[in-house]
Each structure stands twice: as C-alpha cells, then as structure tokens.
Symmetry: C2
Subunit: 459 residues, 2 copies
C-alpha cells in the first residue's frame, strides 16, 4: 500500500456529500424532556459496535420490512439515531482504518491508485497494513487510563507488526482478515484466529464455518468474549474501550444453529437476528452491572450492504447501489447512539456525521487532547449527542490534498458481464457508469434531502 501524495491519476469525480441537509431534530417515538448531561460524562466507557457489510436498510428502525431487529430498535428508542451518518470508504479495511485513526483514507494510507485495490483492501495476500505513524484510538484513550479490547475483525494488516496489540489494544479476540475460505493449506493457509497475541486456531478448522448450511457459532464467541471483558472491567472500575466488530453479515454469511431458518431472509437475516440479540445481551449486561449510565454505545456498519451478493446479501433501503461504490448505498450507514441519562431517548438527529467523528468524540469524552502531529478529519459530536444540536457541515468521502473528490463505482463492463454488479437493477442514466469518466469540470450533484436515492442529478 502506498500513500498517494495527490490524486492526479484518479478519473471519476463527485462532490458526494456536499449538500448540507436541512437539519431538523424530531422525536422518534416519545416526547421526552431533554435529560442530557445528567451526571458525570467524564471518562465513560466507550463501546463501538461495527457491523460488517450491514446496510442502512437492514434494521427495522431504518425500514427493513422483515423487522428482524427488536433489540436495535429498542436501542434506538432509548437512544438517538443518526439517519445521515457516513463511512469514510465503502470497503472494510479503509473504513475501519478511518474509524480508528479519525482520518480519511487518503491521509491514513489506506488508499492506492491501483485500480484493483485502489480502495486499499487488505486481504490475505496483501502484506502491508496500518502505518506505525498512525495513532489509533485505543493508544490515545490509554493516556486517560482506558483499557481497550477488540473483539472480531481487524483488517488493517495481518503481519505481526500490524496486529491490534501493536497499535494500542490491550486485548483481542478475533481475526486479522475476513472469514474467506476454506483454503488448501498449501499455497494459502486458512485465516487465523487470535486470542491476544496468541494464534488459537483457524477458520474452517478450530473455528468451523459450514458453508453449505451457513452454521457457525462465531457470533456467540464474539458475544461471550465481549461480555467477559465487560464483566472484568466492571470489577476493576477502570474505564474501557470495547471495539466489537463481528463479521457474520459479510459473505459467506453465517449464524449459530438456533438462529438458522428463523428469518424471512435466509442466512443473512438469520445472521442479523443473531447480531441483534447479541446487541440486546450486551446492553442488558451494562444494565445488570450498573454500567449503563457510564457507557456510550455506538452502533454502525463499515460500509453499505454488498449488493453483489444479490438476494443473499443485505439491504441499503432506498439508497443507490452499495458496497464498493461511493453512492449513498455504499456510504450511508445505520447509526444508533445509546447512553442512558446522558443521550436523551427517542431522538432523531440529522447531523451529518462520519465514522471518523467517533475518534474525536471519544477523545473529548475521555478528556484526551487530540494528537497535534497529524490533521484529523473527525469532529466532536458531543453537542449532537448530549444536547441534540445540529450544525452545518461539509464532509466528503474522499479528499485528496489538492482538494479533489472521487466517485468510485468499479463496475466495469468486464465485471458486469462476468456477473459482478454493484448496482443490480439500479442503472441511473448519467449517474451509474461502467466507464471511468473525468467529472472534474462537471461533478454530479444531488439534493440528498429530496432525492436520497440519487436518481435525479441537479447538474
């Protein structure tokens, strides 16, 4: 992976998130007096729940007709939803890098000009990873005494120097990569699973995934490791950061046996139901340990649903295209913030926000001064979270140092004819494309308030 000094080679261009959307704060379900800022907001526990390829339209509260997420819907009713919340890149690795560094991919290095991997995806055969010059969230939070654990997928490099414990996390249960496989163990071994610095097995071996039935108990393992960490922190009283990153909704999707066949949507829906129940169990544990009023929990996803999976994948609701495109379907994410007695319940906040803001917001809550050595792209969301405020803001998905913006569709005619379609049944004249076109002089602009589905370019 190479850091790109500028983006002269990049040809597709779009002012993606330019529009400042009219900001209205509405009550979601109940008119409740603002109870923000009751009690101490100093050094709360921070839990970021990052789903994998789960789309905006997969949650009941965001309009999935299957309504498979009663626990997330309750979390929304008890907390605040952000309908205009964005990732920084519609692919796993750069999205996760942006969240943990608070910086755009073009700054943190998870970006290349190579057409195949220009989104800086880090599969098993890419040997690079997160730079040592990047300062990750757990490292910053440690300055305020936080203990940090990552449970689930890392995806910022699989070689020893790139792993989570080298970048500020104190604990890890999970894997450096996606659960692709099984591999033949000759030219390519199966993906390893770690507990701390120790490799404890591999997917399809010690950690089985039945690709025929879709059965795997991995979500239950990720739940148990998270619960066990919370239990321990409750005893010590040390503030903690839990980065919970299960990957059951990433293809090949999986669910535990008792969830298989329980949804309307096949294994994908079963996986959603299991993750939803795990979220419910985690919030319930915070309650039972009396940590709820001192724990900010933020639920979101790394990118939009992978429409290339067809009906076996997730839903981006009314939005255009999905994962691997910078249309709304790839970039807009479900987002719920929950912090009883601090975040007023039942609120909808239209503040434009991104995963990078979770970095800055966490530092503010922990009382840590952001690093001065590197520019940050995330901002402090506490006025929105604690005081239901909104303000004008201009953000963009990709920014190069000379100020250009990039549209990524990747759907070449060659891929399309091979059956790879990132926008199935969503060909919008003059918008979706199979050819790379330079839009520098004529960016495609949408009024996302009136046209969130990006069907009607306004220029």
């Amino acid at each position: 992976m190479t850091r790109i000094p500028n983006c002269q080679g990049i040809v597709l261009l779009l002012l993606l998130l330019f529009s400042h959307i009219v900001s209205i704060t509405l009550t979601l379900a109940f008119s409740v007096a603002v109870t923000a800022n009751n009690g101490n907001t100093s050094k709360p526990n921070i839990i970021i729940m990052l789903m994998d390829d789960m789309g905006w339209g997969d949650l009941g509260v965001f309009g999935n007709p299957a309504m498979e997420t009663p626990n997330l819907d309750r979390m929304a009713a008890e907390g605040m939803i952000f309908p205009n919340f964005y990732t920084a890149n519609p692919l796993c690795s750069p999205s996760r890098a942006a969240l943990l560094t608070g910086r755009l991919p073009i700054r943190n290095g998870f970006y290349t000009s190579n057409a195949h991997a220009r989104n800086a995806y880090t599969p098993q055969y890419i040997v690079e990873g997160i730079s040592n010059t990047e300062i990750l969230l757990p490292k910053m939070l440690h300055k305020a005494g936080y203990v940090s654990k990552i449970v689930g997928k890392w995806h910022l490099g699989h070689r020893a120097s790139f792993l989570p414990l080298k970048h500020g996390f104190h604990e890890w249960f999970g894997s450096p990569n996606c659960h692709f496989g099984p591999f033949n163990d000759l030219d390519r071994p199966n993906i390893p699973v770690y507990d701390g610095a120790q490799m404890v097995g591999r997917y399809y071996e010690e950690f089985p995934i039945d690709k025929k039935t879709g059965e795997s108990n991995l979500t239950q393992l990720y739940l148990q490791h998270a619960l066990e960490f919370i239990n321990r922190q409750a005893v010590t009283g040390t503030p903690f950061f839990l980065y919970w990153a299960p990957d059951a909704t990433h293809a090949p999707v999986y669910a535990s046996r008792r969830f298989l066949g329980t949804s309307q949507r096949g294994i994908y829906g079963d996986a959603v139901r299991e993750l939803d129940q795990a979220v419910g169990a985690l919030l319930e544990r915070l309650h039972s340990l009396d940590l709820h009023s001192n724990s900010l929990v933020f639920f979101t996803s790394d990118n939009g649903a992978a429409l290339i999976s067809g009906p076996k994948g997730g839903s981006n609701g009314p939005f255009l295209c999905g994962k691997e495109t910078t249309f709304e379907g790839g970039m807009r994410e479900p987002a719920i913030a929950w912090w009883p007695s601090h975040i007023p319940p039942g609120r909808v906040n239209h503040q434009l926000a991104t995963v990078m803001d979770l970095f800055t917001t966490s530092l503010v809550l922990a009382g840590v001064t952001p690093p001065s050595s590197t520019p940050l792209d995330g901002i402090d969301l506490t006025p929105a979270l604690l005081h239901t405020r909104t303000w004008d803001r201009c953000i963009c998905a990709f920014v190069c140092l000379d100020g250009c913006f990039i549209l990524m569709t990747r759907n070449s005619w060659q891929e399309f004819h091979q059956g790879i379609n990132f926008c199935p049944a969503q060909e919008v004249h003059g918008v979706t494309t199979h050819n790379q076109t330079d839009h520098t002089q004529h960016p495609i602009l949408f009024h996302l308030g009136r046209d969130p589905g990006e069907k009607y370019p306004i220029r």
Copy 2:
C-alpha cells in the same frame, strides 16, 4: 365503467402476492406484556386514515431518512405496524372502492378492460361511479347504530347518485375528486367541495391552492372537520365511523403556510409533516375526550408513491416502482393500527393483510353480520390486532372470476419517451417492461421475504 365478466383481454399476468412470508412477531420498541382484550371491544369507534399517494417509505417508522413523522412513529410505538399490508389496486378510485366494499375491484366494478382507464380511475370527465348494488361500510355499520362521516376525497363518482351521502355516510366534508386544476370554467369547471349534500365552493376558488408556492390550508380544514365530528360524537356517545381521507400528498402537493419550507423534501415533505401533525392532533383529541380505549384507528394509504412525480413525490422505500404498477412499490402500504388497551403496544405483525380486510374487521368489531348477498374478499383481522396472531394466507391484487392474476405496469414505450416513467432508474431485466406480455404460462414469481425489491425473479 363496465363490470368485466372475465379477463380474457388482459395480457400481463403475475402471481403477485403468492409467497406466504414467514411470520414472525417482534417487538418494535418496547417489550410490553400483551394487554389485548382488556375491557369491552364491542362497538368501538372506527377511524380509518387513508392517505393519498403516500408511499411505504415516507414514514420514519418505515425508514424514510428525512424522519418527518414523529406522531406516526409514536402511533406505531403505541400500536401495531403491519409491514406486509397491501392495497387492492395501485390507483385512487379502485383502491378506495375496495376498502369501502371489502371487495376486489374486479367484483365491485372499479375495473375496466379499456387500456387507458383499465384501473377504473374516476376523474372529472368519467360520469360513472360506485354501483348501487355495492354495500359500503358506513351502510353496514349503520345497522349497529354507527354514525359515519367522510372527510376528504371520495373519488367513487362525482354525479349526484354516486356521492357519499347516497352510500351510507351521514356526513361529508370534502370533494368527489382530486384537486386538479385550475380549470377554465368554460368546458370544465373547477372541482367542487361539499359539506354534506351542499356544495360549498370549488378548489382554486373558495378553497384556494397556490400552485406556485404549494400553499393551501385544506389539511387544516380536514383536520378541523374531523375534530369537530369527534367532539360531537363524544357528547352523544353514539359509536362512530370516521373515514379521514386528506389528499395533500397527491400532486399537486400542498401544505399550509406554516409548514411550507419546514422539511428536507420540499412541498411533499411539508405535506407529510402537516399530515403527521394532524394525526397527532386527532389521537390527542381521542385521549382528551377519553375515547382512546374505545377507538380503533387504522392509518394507511391508497396506493404507493407516484414515482412519475420524480423527486417531488414520495418514497416507496426499498420496493420496486410505484403508483400505477402492481409491483410492491405500487401495492404495499404503510399500515399502523392503534387502540390503547386493546392492541398491544410496540408490536410488528407480519400478517399479510389488505385494505379490504378493514371492511370485514370493522363489521366484526361492530357486531354486524357481513352481507350474504355478495362475496367478500376481506377477512377479519381481529386475531392479529387483539391477539398478535398470524396465519398463512394467499391474497392477490387482481383476481378474475376464472382465476387469473394481473400485472399492471402501464409504462409503454410511448409514455416512457414522453417522460412518464413509473419505475425511474429501476429497470429490472425480465421484470419491468414497456410491452404488454402474456405471462399466463410463466408467471413472474418473487420470494418477497428475501427479495422485497423484486430484483431477482425465482421463475
């Protein structure tokens, strides 16, 4: 309008709602013990709120990113939502006829084989209307002593013999037709507005609509007439049926001055916000008059959002196409049932249901035996409403007496090239079409659980 004995002339064919969707009842927001059937369910007041061209995806609770409907979202949290609720026809007149007769358009006469008006739309220049042989809901409810009022749009014929007071309603404030216009008053007068049997003015004259600004106070008038009726019934104690049918979300959309410019979505969103606030005011009035536990309120729409209006119209969320097509976007409707202390709060019920069921359900609640002279297509939904039950069911959008099913797209190449597009940016290969094709031998089938967007035909 002619009753069609069979549908030999009809060429597009689809088993539309064949799939029985796996039924799961989930809590929406709060886990609340079932409190159904506390108290008397005999002769409750019945309020049906029927929106005009409002889509499934227009409500916050059904996933609109603008989240403009806090009152409807609260109604959902206090009541039960039906994500699999359908109209009987994706156009105003036949949909409304089906609701009020409990019968499919092909039975109640709101159907023709004429290509232009084959959906039996009754604009100003059509002189036919609802048949005298049809028995409408208010007429049946009168047998149990109900007093009935329609507020808003009728659309079942504008000549004297077809008007609401001739078909069982005791009171009416509203119009026989859409608020199209202004007309030139020479070959075509403006559409009249009635108060009871009395014509009290016309749209664009005594009841102004400013087509430039979108300003009209009609929704406020419809709200006031509904509130006044409820007030009167509260005094008399007589059970009542209120059919509240405002049309602000039908093009040309309008809103009162204080709502103009308040939404993210232009005048359409302003209209949604005003209707949402009116719903809130109506529910609040039921509470303040202590009628809430004796009033079933059902909120839905006559057909999907009119995508022909482009970004000036509503949203069908993740569903295909919209009004004037029998795809999910035209047929699936937002649906919320509310009846405190009878319908358990915060529930999602996946029961497959239709507007025609509101006829039969209302009769059951009123204790009226359904008419034996004509076959009904609606069924009793009280097991779903009061006991959160679901059951298998096969319904269809159009049924002819010889058992055929019809897909209606109406998007001929001619219309398409004229700029009329019922499925903008949603061309699905082998599904959407610009030619009438006979699918009798090979119906297009979808698994609506896995593929609610109808992108992947399973045969």
